[in-house]
């Protein structure tokens, strides 16, 4: 599961969950890839991501220092090096083993072999 996928995911479908976002993330194993950086593509992605969730994902792999604690006001004013840090988090990190947790009910959804399992029945086993 690439880290950018975490930015989309929610436990909103669970009973009694009103928001279910962002999911808490525990990473036990991940791999780092080397996807080619493209400035414009990175800015397009960043325009749509939820920064709070990205901070959660960065913290889960102990790489919070790559990005600022506050969301930059204008992505296109960042240097290539600064944007590469975001690109690295979003596209180069592939979570193999870990857990996603609903922030409201604390339901745990495992990530195994890189695939998050968001089927509620399996999560309750």
């Amino acid at each position: 599961m690439k880290l950018f996928v975490h930015n989309f995911m929610s436990s909103r479908f669970l009973k009694n969950v009103t928001v279910g976002y962002p999911l808490e993330l525990t990473v036990k194993q991940f791999v780092e890839k080397d996807i080619e950086f493209d400035r414009e593509n990175t800015i397009v992605m960043l325009d749509k991501i939820q920064y709070e969730a990205l901070l959660v994902a960065a913290a889960a792999i102990n790489q919070s220092d790559r990005i600022p604690a506050e969301k930059p006001s204008k992505w296109d004013e960042l240097s290539d090096d600064q944007l590469r840090q975001f690109h690295h988090l979003l596209m180069n990190i592939d979570v193999i083993d870990g857990e996603l947790v609903c922030p409201e009910t604390k339901t745990v959804f495992p990530i195994k072999d890189g695939i998050p399992n968001m089927l509620k029945v399996d999560a309750e086993k």
Binding site: F8, M9, S11, F13, F109, I115, P116, D122
Partner: protein, 194 residues
């Protein structure tokens, strides 16, 4: 996918395919319309870790509200227990202006029910067509290729000829005849969340 207003330029869209199977269609999208930055698949049965696939239920999509620009669902919703709940989830996770493209084999009487269900949620029908004839022509073409392969297969494979031909909807099979005679039709719809 050609129904989509931005076809064939999907690279800046956040795309979700619900019931993506083992991800082969995601790979096809990536190969023909990529590279796409955010392309995610969701299915209840997954065996390959490719292209950001998530185990998930179409009736309970594990995604935040207003996350996607484009949702694709191909030949799957007829198997769901509650297509209205699925449509509701699609509406929830789509951004305003986002598009839901739905393709399926249905009974003719289902067409207005499906369209009414989508419109009752707030979707606007932007494109609706019945393309049964084209699909049957496509099945004729693909069946010819598969039949040729089957003829060359060993005897213990040929023992299952009828079953195998049913899987690729070959002429003479029940599924094929239902389409050819339009007892069932192939529906292609694009709804927009406005």
């Amino acid at each position: 996918m050609s129904m989509h207003p931005e076809y064939p330029d999907f690279e800046n869209l956040d795309i979700l395919e619900v019931s993506c199977g083992q991800g082969y269609s995601l790979e096809w999208i990536e190969n023909w319309h990529g590279p796409i930055k955010c392309l995610i698949g969701c299915d209840k049965v997954v065996t390959r870790n490719v292209n950001n696939i998530v185990y998930g239920d179409a009736h309970k999509l594990p995604f935040a509200d207003e996350s996607f620009d484009f949702i694709l669902n191909v030949e799957a919703a007829h198997l769901y227990s509650d297509y209205q709940k699925f449509f509701q989830e699609c509406y929830r996770v789509l951004r305003t202006g986002g598009v839901f493209c739905y393709l399926d084999i249905r009974y003719p009487r289902d067409v207005s029910l499906l369209n009414d269900a989508a419109k009752s949620l707030g979707f606007v029908t932007k494109h609706l067509e019945l393309c049964t004839e084209e699909v049957v022509e496509g099945l004729n073409h693909s069946a010819r290729k598969y039949d040729e392969l089957l003829e060359k297969a060993p005897w213990f494979v040929k023992m299952f000829k009828n079953t195998l031909r049913a899987t690729y909807c070959a002429p003479g099979t029940e599924a094929y005849e239902r389409l050819r005679t339009e007892q069932k039709i192939y529906l292609a719809v694009m709804w927009m969340k406005c």
